[in-house]
């Protein structure tokens, strides 16, 4: 029929107003975020770790789904920008007792919120919120269902850029449960936009969406082939509940065929880096020797995550 041509996360001047997904986000904005984050890495290493960019602003962490790491890094990032941070963990039971997402948001908006950081178990929830908030309020997606986790995607791009400088000749493998992963989708869109020429996904058939190749990736079911000569290995978390279902036989078999071990990593380029969005299941998708090894950049990822979130919040607030 028709597609709404307007991108709901950009304002009329084409600037970032909400951050909902990395799909269709102009490369210029993506580079702007990465560059801005770089300047904030310095801030986080200073003795006084604060800048006044969001002074007087109220940032609401609106988590409809539990999270420790993402919520904490958003909170730290907002505080380093001198914002007031309010954390709200809206557990599923009270949401199902009656109050709708939009009612919750309307009530909080009435408390003079300037920005909502939203985590929700349903794909698309931040779009719904962005569509209904007052025009001066910003919405940042902190993970929605299987759809997107844009700040995670960006911090991983930051990490790759930090170590590899340039995307234009990289081979990147995304390994694991792509089907249920919002992180993987954000990786793929970001890598495509930043000019990465070869993106691979590596997983058993049961953990890939049907039309995954339409996202612009090469599909591998054999991890050894999939890792051959790659520059970057991006591991995904395998949720425990997947192992209770018929998607997989066992954690042991998954580890054997799709877990990142030193011998499989040896097939990648010798200077390949290993990323993981956390929290890790050691011995399921990744071996401890790799997670803690010299090629792992998993802890720097977390540090960069704060800078990326500072960058995103300061950019949307400034537009």
């Amino acid at each position: 029929m028709w597609l709404d041509p307007s991108n709901p996360q950009l304002n009329k001047n084409g600037e970032l107003h909400h951050l909902l997904t990395l799909e269709g986000l102009p490369a210029g904005i993506m580079w702007q975020i990465l560059d801005t984050a770089k300047s904030f890495v310095g801030v986080t290493q200073r003795e006084v770790k604060k800048v006044p960019l969001l002074r007087g602003k109220a940032v609401f962490n609106l988590f409809f789904e539990p999270s420790t790491r993402t919520r904490t890094t958003f909170e730290i990032a907002a505080k380093r920008l001198s914002a007031d941070v309010i954390n709200l963990a809206i557990n599923i039971s009270s949401a199902t007792k009656g109050e709708s997402v939009l009612d919750t948001v309307a009530n909080l908006a009435a408390m003079q919120a300037d920005m909502f950081i939203v985590r929700h178990a349903s794909s698309g929830a931040p779009y719904l919120i962005a569509k209904h908030v007052a025009p001066e309020i910003h919405v940042i997606n902190a993970g929605d269902g299987r759809h997107a986790h844009p700040t995670q995607g960006l911090l991983d791009m930051f990490t790759i850029r930090h170590y590899k400088k340039d995307f234009s000749s990289l081979k990147v493998a995304v390994v694991g449960d792509v089907l249920h992963s919002r992180v993987a989708r954000s990786h793929i869109h970001a890598l495509t936009t930043l000019g990465c020429p070869e993106i691979r996904v590596v997983a058993p058939k049961t953990l890939l969406p049907k039309a995954v190749e339409t996202l612009g990736v090469h599909v591998y079911h054999d991890m050894r082939q999939g890792l051959k000569d790659v520059d970057v290995v991006m591991m995904l978390r395998l949720q425990n509940e997947r192992m209770q279902s018929a998607l997989l036989a066992s954690a042991q078999e998954f580890y054997k065929y799709y877990g990142l071990t030193a011998d499989k990593l040896a097939l990648a380029k010798s200077d390949a880096i290993v990323l993981h969005p956390g929290p890790m299941n050691r011995g399921v998708e990744i071996d401890s020797s790799v997670a803690d090894g010299g090629q792992s950049v998993i802890l720097p990822q977390v540090t960069f995550g704060i800078a990326i979130r500072m960058a995103v919040m300061s950019i949307v607030a400034g537009n």
């Binding site: 029929m1 799909e23 349903s122 794909s123 299987r146 989708r185 049907k210 996202l215």
Partner: protein
Amino acid sequence: MKIHIKGGRLIDPKHGLDVTQDLYIAAGKIVGAGETPKGFTPNRTIDATNHVVCPGLVDLAARLREPGFEYMATLESEMAAALAGGVTSLACPPDTDPPLDEPGLVEMLKFRAKTLNRARVYPVGALTIGLQGTRLTEMAELRDAGCVAFSQADAALADNNVLFLAMQYASTFGFSVWLRPQDPALAGGGVAHDGQVAARLGLPAVPVFAETAALGLILLLARETGARIHLCRLSTAEGVEMVRRAKADGLPVTCDVAIHHAHLSEMDIGYFDANCRVIPPFRSQRDRDALRRGLADGTVDALCSDHTPVDDDAKQLPFGEAEVGVTALELLLPLTLKWAAESNTPLSAALSRITSEPARVLGIDAGHLGAGAAADVCIFDPQHYWKVEAAGLKSQGKNTPYTGIEIQGRVVCTIIDGQAVYDADGVTGKR
């Protein structure tokens, strides 16, 4: 009351009629076309110049939401929507609350509808008690109360044996069983077609084989039991092809497609538009094109509105949590005309899909303009463009992805039993 409908383009698909001719109505019946019947003096003359005069539309699936969902819609609001859409006969699915599983409920619905004196309502009875999928309803009793067929709506059956026994039992009495083919386990918790949009948006998906696996079983059991089967809301290219082959093999099955599925695809979900949250999901453009071909070659017998009014609150939720359905009674005709224009289908053939063919599926004497038939007539202006807007819809449900879109074709007058029950802007009365 005698009505003379003058100068319209008379289209009666059942009788192969498409000609500019006058139509004459007396005592609630069609009394003639073309030549004025002897001694006919009209009480009222309707000038239908440049308009199409066709049988009142017959809709195989319109949810009126009573009983149980009056906060979403009422009989009054949805009957008004039906008339504004030119629909004069409609079948309503049993998925009310409580479901239409006992004669008292069916009689009450028929009575309520009758007192409103509007579109003819044909309840489809529940196939199982409470639509729970385990125990059969008293189908013969329900038939006596007014049910024209039996259906499980979108609810699952407990297992294949219940499906087999339900078909066998219904066939004992010659009742028609209406089934929407979907394997509940294969459909899982899916909310979108298993294609590129679900992959991009991270939406749980309903694979094509959730439909075809169930369809294969239904066709097999139809052969085995001899039950009269009507397949509801086909959505896939493979499904249409299976029905095409079954019909070629002589199996007496019929099927329908919901009008929105003839136009929209997974792409229309856009940025999680909850108005595109429907069952079955909008599928690929290839599937949509196959549904259109099936409609054109007769594999698909009928188009239905699958009208499902939903209140705003139930749609203003994340896509997968939003209530399913679209409001469609008032869009059935214009969207059928749009399909006809886009596919070069002759108007008469297109109209047959919403008049004579669904009447045949229902087994009722309706959907045609033969002499002696009840005078259920729709007069529409095929050139009139109008913009779909919430305020302009009679239905209480404003849930349509077409909001803000201009569409062509507008009903100007709806006649039931020889009574003009709908006059857009009072136009016809003034002429």
